[in-house]
Amino acid sequence: MLHWLLDPWSDPINLRALVEVVALGATGGALGCWIVFYRLAYSAESLAHALLPGLVVASLAGAPLVVGGAAGLVVAALAVAVAGRTPAIGHDTAVAVVVTGLLGLGALLALSPDTPARLQELLFGDVLGVGTGDLVLAGALTAVVLGALALLHPSLLVVGFDRASAAALGRSALAVDVALGVLVALAILVAVQGLGNLLVVAVLVAPAAAARRVTRRLASMMAVAVAIAVACGAIGLYASFYLDTASGASIAGALVLAYAAANMLPAARA
């Protein structure tokens, strides 16, 4: 049994992947709690999908994916802001139109005959292919996001609980929204390297949604969400190793199963 558990990690490739999913799990689990409470799951998913053209262009140009992803995020945010100003369509519709357009553009670029065959990596990630630079980036992201969440905790709580009274309590709802949006964008930017454009939202939403079902307080919810995210990351890698399945999809599948299992348990009173 012990051999069965330890065998995958004797390979440096799998070990690096494990470190990556632990870092992404800690980030996604903790940040995901605020994404769930601020009802940002749709925005997070939209941002993740809309940065595909940036990733594809970076891939074509041989530039670091993180640079292309950042540029893609900026373009997506601007496009949503402009489309959202059209009075005839609502904000949700504007986001849907922009995201569909950008995702389609990204696929078009990636599927052109001259494009290197990396579309699958961009869409579904390649957690087994992470290098030392990716790990450093994921570690830095984890430190930044968890540090920022710790500092912002009272403000996030005040604005999230009672937005209308935030100003009276000395907190700017706009500033807190912007700070949370930046953290979500950062998390997507880095996590997309490992989990891909389509699966990254799983680690940002599913662990927190599952933890919400079984906990009554925010602190315990965050701890359980991180534990679920990390455990599902490891389970996904085991599945990939022993069943020869795609690693990113296996991790996402484990996260969704964890959410389904949590929904079968009696809900915590809260």
Partner: protein, 275 residues
């Protein structure tokens, strides 16, 4: 470009503007919160005009008006969230807000103590968490509203009256000298109403100033002052001067009638009055 108004967070100096406030306020009075010719707008749409009043320390003022009459908008200006497009708001530091409980997130996994503790956040820089002294203050505030035994209960599980008292405890932890209460008796049973009413009396007795948005005309008679709003200031002064039938009709845009059996006053829609 309209002439932008101002929000003064310094202690008011009534001597500097004699006669600019309500006529009932003398230059030597101890004004806690005041507006001078304040107009408020959302974008290009002005929603409240020409508000001028002053409330002294320890006074309780009812803010009467129909839905959409400007009560909540005025409170947003008093907290500094909304800047006046004309006139001047004078408020000492931050006003404490006690909103209607259903406007908070009842699905948030926070305890009564967590909510009371949020009051301490206003006194801390954004990166600091409340400490041990703040927790002690939160427990003391919950005890004062009769809920310390329920400190660990989930906020959303409490009754409407209990939630209202927890939000009041939050304002006490904030130690605000001016409290803005948005329909604090809405949906409360008689016992909870009496409890909250007693608490408000105590808070006024210790020198805090209370502005209470309400629809209850008869309850407003118990307060020191009444401010009537309906898109603009209709009246301000003691209940005996302001709670007249013509003023109330102008405030609510309908006829005020005496309910049978001593049941207080009711408001008829405008078309009843017109015909």
């Amino acid at each position: 470009m309209p002439d932008r108004g101002a929000v003064s967070r310094a202690e008011p100096d009534p001597a500097g503007a004699p006669g600019a406030l309500s006529p009932r306020v003398s230059p030597s009075s101890d004004v806690a919160v005041a507006c001078e010719g304040v107009s408020l707008a959302y974008g290009a749409r002005t929603v409240l005009r020409d508000v001028t009043f002053a409330v002294r320390r320890g006074e309780r003022a009812a803010v009467l008006g129909p839905n959409g009459g400007g009560k909540t908008t005025l409170f947003r200006a008093l907290t500094g969230e909304l800047e006046p497009v004309a006139g001047r708001v004078i408020a000492p530091g931050r006003c404490g807000v006690v909103p209607q409980t259903e406007r908070s997130r009842l699905d948030f996994p926070v305890s009564a103590l967590d909510v009371a503790l949020m009051g301490a956040v206003s006194r801390l820089p954004w990166w600091r968490r409340p400490g041990r002294a703040d927790r002690a203050a939160a427990h003391a505030a919950l005890e004062r509203v009769g809920l310390d035994a329920m400190a660990d209960e989930t906020f959303g599980d409490l009754s409407g009256g209990q939630r209202q008292r927890v939000l009041l405890a939050r304002a006490l932890v904030q130690d605000a000298r001016v409290l803005l209460l948005d329909e604090p008796f809405s949906g409360l049973d008689t016992r909870s109403t009496d409890l909250v009413m007693g608490l408000l009396d105590d808070l006024a007795a210790e020198g805090r100033t209370l502005l209470i948005a309400t629809h209850d005309v008869d309850q407003a008679r118990a307060w020191d002052l009444v401010l009537c709003l309906n898109g603009a200031q209709v009246a301000f002064g003691p209940p005996g001067e302001t709670l007249t039938l013509p003023t109330l009709e102008r405030t609510y845009g309908g006829a005020i009638v005496e309910l049978p059996g001593g049941g207080g006053h009711g408001v008829l829609p405008p078309h009843h009055h017109d015909h």
